[in-house]
């Protein structure tokens, strides 16, 4: 039994205080980090209900984790960003940092939940949780943030673009779940996948940055 609510209260309380004490970008980041924790808690409830329904209809638990849980989690992660875009009319950079904050908050709540359930005695387990699932959530959040910031403020494009980036993030998440739910080498590949993907994304971002600065010169 994981007492997710207790973990949430424990993690959220100091952050909630910080939201009132801080200002500007830092306050926004902490606020969205908090929303990420909340999204993870809600995802736990939603996944529970959907799992009952899906398993009742003949779908295996593993297939549920692979096919449905990522979709539910990515939609819940996207909701705070949609709210931010709709209400505050932010700048593009603001959307990316908010999406990342939500993703990191989600990963933190999930990781602490796993550690509380399985115990913190094994360093390899902690490393795997931190460097695979943690980075995977950050990558999904980055896909969401960059994608949404790109289609933002263009009427119909916001709708189609939002669907598209959620689909991309959910599929990446599902691929990770598929690999880590398998045995042997596949699982190892699953653990490495987020790190490799993060490295590729960083490489692209750097190259794009170089190309932009080259054009300015």
């Amino acid at each position: 039994m994981i007492y997710s609510e207790n973990i949430f209260v424990c993690l959220a309380a100091p952050l909630l205080i910080a939201v009132f004490l801080l200002e500007g970008d830092t306050r926004r980041f902490i606020g969205f980090f908090l929303l990420g924790l909340t999204a993870c808690l809600l995802a736990g409830y939603c996944n529970g209900y959907i799992e009952q329904f899906a398993v009742g209809n003949g779908l295996g638990e593993t297939q549920f984790v692979i096919q449905f849980a990522p979709v539910c989690e990515e939609i819940l992660k996207a909701l705070p960003v949609f709210f931010y875009m709709a209400v505050f009319e932010p700048k593009r950079r603001g959307i990316v940092s908010c999406a990342l904050a939500v993703g990191l908050g989600f990963a933190t709540q999930e990781n602490v939940g796993y550690i509380a359930y399985y115990g913190a005695g094994e360093l390899p387990f902690a490393l795997v949780r931190g460097f695979s699932a943690g980075i995977m959530h950050a990558i999904c959040a980055a896909i969401l943030g960059y994608g949404l910031s790109f289609v933002y403020r263009r009427r119909w494009l916001e709708i189609t673009g939002s669907f598209a980036v959620i689909c991309a993030a959910a599929t990446f998440h599902a691929t990770y779940n598929l690999l880590v739910s398998a045995e042997g080498a596949w699982r190892g590949l699953g653990y490495i996948l987020p790190v490799v993907a993060a490295a590729v994304i960083l490489l692209f971002v750097r190259q794009a940055g170089k190309a932009t600065s080259g054009r300015r010169e």
């Binding site: 598209a164 980036v165 599902a174």
Partner: protein, 214 residues
């Protein structure tokens, strides 16, 4: 045998699409970013599809995330069309009116085909998921193929691009038909065609990029 050919086909797609995505990312600009997104989604769907077959020995029946990824591809392609449509002036929109009614033939065909798949194989939700974005994509592609470059005033016209997108929609539907009829050869042939159509899309977009990008 068919399974092996199918997996080889998926490998070719991954190689082609990775190359296209890398090139698209290097060019920057909104068109290539959205194209890279479309290619990336398609690639992710294929990777998921392949891995599921390798790990579990079969593809899941009913809903799959791979479908969601393919639908993401349509939404990215639709976003490109909507972006282009957003640039039209009121005069250009007026001039496009005669083409609008004709263009409705494309989504009508897509809807009819999906009704046929539903009657033959069931799966209302999955058919609906595919039918909605494909219908819009077919409509805008045919509209821009008929009128693009003339009324929109964009030179050179990216007509080849819209033609490729329309062929992609057609190939997707033919692939479904192959699956519905139980013809593996038809399914594989159109699957392969779709991959190469994406390369054509990239080539055509690169040609017209100078004109349609700001």
């Amino acid at each position: 045998m068919t399974e092996t050919v199918h997996l080889i086909n998926q490998f070719i797609q991954i190689a082609c699409l990775s190359a296209a995505a890398v090139l698209a990312a290097r060019r920057r600009g909104w068109l290539f970013r959205l194209l890279a997104g479309a290619f990336g989604c398609y690639l992710l769907g294929d990777v998921f599809y392949m891995l599921h077959i390798w790990i579990y020995g079969q593809f899941p029946s009913g809903f799959s995330v791979a479908y969601l990824s393919y639908i993401g591809t349509y939404f990215f392609l639709l976003s490109i069309d909507l972006w282009l449509a957003g640039e039209w002036t009121d005069e250009q929109k007026k001039a496009l009116r005669p083409y609008r009614k004709v263009s409705l033939a494309a989504p009508a065909a897509v809807i009819v085909l999906h009704c046929v798949y539903y009657i033959r194989d069931g799966g209302f939700f999955i058919n609906l998921l595919f039918c909605v974005p494909l219908s819009f994509l077919a409509y805008y592609s045919l509209l821009m193929l008929l009128a693009g470059g003339v009324e929109s005033g964009l030179e050179p016209p990216p007509r080849q691009y819209h033609g490729a997108v329309l062929f992609y929609v057609l190939a997707e539907n033919m692939m479904f038909l192959g699956s519905s009829l139980g013809s593996d050869a038809m399914y594989i042939a159109f699957d392969l065609m779709m991959s190469f159509t994406m390369l054509l899309m990239y080539r055509a977009a690169a040609k017209g990029a100078g004109a349609i990008e700001n």
